[in-house]
Symmetry: C2
Subunit: 303 residues, 2 copies
């Protein structure tokens, strides 16, 4: 028999869950919830996506009109950041006042600022999972298992609403992490948005360096023939969706600019060591990089 | 029946092939050659590695003394760059004068400069394959299949010696590419050595940015909790073996310094766009990055 607290946190399961946007994140949430017996009402942008979402079994009911959200106890806004920051007034009007509302945007301070005045039970959250796929075909089961799902409570966030979103994340197998919105935005600037720009600059540098005056005429062809797994890994995020990269930089401008400044300093130190032949200093920096990589990436996920 | 040219190019198969250094590259060459019925004589640095190389079936004969190379028609110097650039005089003295000698170093101009005066039949080459493993346990079959193997002929390179090394690379399934040593070194500076430094700087920036004055106390922990696949990919080569990174930068200093300068300019342009909010320009840069990635990485390997 569930305890009182568990029963309260699980109350969201007893009404339909609304999901606005049935792409990779929305579709994956929908699939996992339906497998657990939760009723899902979806809002799709286009009629064609709505039909496909039904065919794929992502939703119990679906419409392009947000009135399908009536009766939902929890609504997830699984929309791109630009639509989240300039929401459709018809969507805002259709959100049940008693429902808990959350989002999945990758930047949190501007989302909170926009949405707190719009709905009393809004909770900002960010599930950190993804693949390169998008659209109504992209959703898959188990996407969030073991991934971080960040909640950024603010002054005025309602404790019961926070508990419901926390319970949703736990139900999907994610690791819940709670922090301030500004802290979240600084952290993702460093480990998610900065890598995109660092990686994009590497693609431009390889192209420009191979075409530079003084380079042999074959060099542009040669760099393309020789680029292998190391180059492929380091440039993966820089070669991704340009709109996503732009949205991240635009909606997290201050933190991304600060991260770029810190990065430029770190790079300038390494450049100085190479240009001046300061080999023991360079070796020490690379030793530290090796330790930092293990610290950031290779350690086991916290429970 | 083989043509005259094929028979000549295959002449190296009829005598033992010597391999100096039985780590990942040397051991993998040895394994593939023995599978093809070629007799392999190995030189190991330590007695223990020599014994293990025999046990693993990497070699027909092996010793720590380079006199085991007597009678070899082709010798591959599969040594780290520092040992290649300051070779053991006993090794140089033991190389049969009639043998074709090649190396596998990742920088070619200094290797050519060092080795051309040491042996009349020296050919500089660079098989571009690898895993993170090292040592006598690392060698594996088929490592070079489909990978580029660069030959850098110089004034004075003997055509028959070049043909023999080309035939070796082809026998191992590699794609042979021929270019000047300076061109090779500029190309690997851009697509292999620069990524290491760009990626190392990202690790330092994430660490330093999270510890910066004004950052919340939780931020250092938070960036580590949130670092996911994008960060892992972009920092993989920067978190690799520090000695390898140092050797690359040190032995290819001029080209790496030039690549870093080009990179700094590309990064400064992106930074300016973020800081000034030049969003259409940033979007265009990111669009170009996406196209460049496809051009560098996703296109099919040339035949």
């Amino acid at each position: 028999m569930p305890t009182q607290a568990c029963a309260a946190a699980d109350a969201w399961r007893s009404s339909p869950v609304g999901i606005v946007g049935l792409g990779l994140i929305g579709g994956s949430i929908a699939l996992d919830l339906r497998r657990q017996g939760v009723v899902v009402h979806g809002v799709a942008h286009r009629q064609q996506s709505a039909e496909r979402a039904l065919q794929r079994g992502l939703v119990d009911r679906v419409a392009t009109d947000p009135s399908v959200l009536a009766g939902c106890g929890l609504v997830v806004l699984a929309l791109p950041l630009d639509q989240l920051l300039a929401p459709d007034p018809a969507l805002v009007a259709a959100l049940p006042p008693a429902a808990v509302i959350t989002d999945v945007g990758s930047v949190k301070a501007p989302v909170l600022e926009r949405w707190q005045p719009l709905h009393a039970r809004f909770v900002a959250s960010h599930p950190m999972a993804g693949t390169a796929s998008a659209g109504v075909e992209a959703g898959l089961t188990g996407l969030f298992a073991g991934c971080p799902w960040v909640l950024t409570p603010a002054a005025g966030s309602e404790p019961q609403a926070l508990a419901a979103v926390d319970a949703l994340a736990v139900a999907l197998g994610a690791r819940c992490i709670s922090c301030g919105a500004a802290e979240h935005d600084q952290a993702v600037a460093l480990i998610s948005h900065l890598p995109v720009l660092v990686s994009a600059a590497l693609l431009h540098a390889a192209d420009r360096g191979a075409a530079a005056a003084g380079a042999g005429p074959q060099l542009a062809q040669l760099v393309r023939s020789l680029a292998s797994t190391g180059f492929a890994d380091t440039t993966r995020v820089g070669g991704g969706n340009p709109q996503l990269g732009l949205l991240m930089a635009r909606s997290n401008q201050q933190a991304v600019a600060a991260a770029l400044q810190t990065y430029s300093q770190c790079l300038a130190e390494l450049s100085e060591q190479v240009q001046q032949g300061l080999w023991p200093a360079l070796e020490e920096q690379l030793r530290q990089s090796q330790r930092l990589r293990a610290d950031f990436v290779d350690r086991p996920a916290s429970p």
